[in-house]
Symmetry: C2
Subunit: 214 residues, 2 copies
């Protein structure tokens, strides 16, 4: 069965999935890299050429990236800084070989032809409801799972529509104070999920949500 999954989406203790003031130079606004330092420190992220790195629970979660994923859906603001659709050269933040390696659907109100990248990633631009986008991505995923890749706005919309089967959130012990909140308007979410938390020696806490099918 093909599931809909969120993987290591990182938020601050006060619930922000990105900082304020996203630009080309600062993809996460004033948050900088602070939401993802725990991830950069893992063995999996560093790769075989860089010795060392954390090998515990943080690493286990990062190793799940790509496992069983057949397509991704992301928001327009994850794909590029505001106004990217006016730049005909913009192909995302990730260089010629993006780390998706699957069909990747960008939710946007701006029509755009698809972009085929190296390594199996093709960017498709769609204007659709979460349920419609999921149907399209599911068909492209060839029986594998669909990753909802963020940002906070898109994850929140998919949660509100009841479309997420499994979600992994990483709470980083910083207070951003401003940015885009993940949790707004999701009162009672816990009724539909089994929730577990596991704190890591790195300081972050991993929170997993598994839909109970209630």
């Amino acid at each position: 069965m093909s599931l809909t999954r969120v993987q290591f989406f990182s938020i601050s203790l006060d619930g922000f999935g990105t900082g304020e003031g996203q630009t080309l130079e600062a993809p996460f606004g004033h948050a900088g890299e602070r939401l993802h330092e725990w991830m950069f420190a893992t063995r999996q992220w560093r790769g075989p050429d860089q010795p060392g790195g954390s090998g515990g629970v943080d690493d286990l979660f990062v190793k799940q990236h790509d496992q069983g994923i057949g397509a991704e859906i992301m928001g327009a603001n994850k794909f590029g800084p505001r106004g990217w659709h006016e730049d005909p050269e913009w192909k995302g933040w990730w260089g010629p070989n993006p780390p998706f390696h699957t069909p990747t659907f960008i939710l946007t109100h701006h029509a755009h032809p698809p972009i085929e990248m190296e390594g199996g990633t093709t960017f498709h631009f769609i204007d659709a409801t979460p349920a419609e986008a999921l149907k399209t991505a599911r068909e492209a995923a060839g029986g594998k799972d669909v990753r909802i890749g963020g940002g906070a706005t898109v994850i929140r919309d998919f949660l509100a529509a009841g479309l997420i089967d499994h979600m992994h959130i990483v709470v980083v012990p910083i207070l951003l104070g401003r940015g885009v909140r993940l949790w707004d308007g999701l009162e009672g979410l816990e009724n539909d999920y089994q929730i577990e938390a596991i704190s890591s020696p790195s300081g972050v806490t991993h929170v997993t949500f598994t839909r109970t099918g209630a």
Copy 2:
């Protein structure tokens, strides 16, 4: 040295320290008892007359209540439901022998004579800045620590004024969606504290803040 401490203040995953709609029947509004179930389940809370209860990290934190505390400061909305000052009989939620057993200072804009209770608790009503209130409570604490007892508004104000030395927050895996937020306006708080998180099998995550004296 006398410290200023916050002890097991419980918030939802989305950061609310209490629900919406506090009344005499519902001291935590629509949150009900859900922010404190982890605490009611501990051996310490149940006491020697009720066998069983959780004996791990949740219990260790609850056992710290009263240890070394010489005075408490709380907000007017922790002391009673809105309008309590118009009821001459109101003496707090806690019965004739409240669980403070020290001088207890209620921050309020409504002047009120002190109330002496059984067991060492005396309620004093003061209209003062956080720093002034702390000075008064410190003098009354006889060299022991001062507990900032909540609610979220008062803890936030004391944090913003840089007055908290040690804080223990309990993150409960529910989404309240509405109520009083703890974290608003505290951007960068992590710069002044060593922060640790420890998740408990009960599902809550304890987050401790220890001031580094930076």
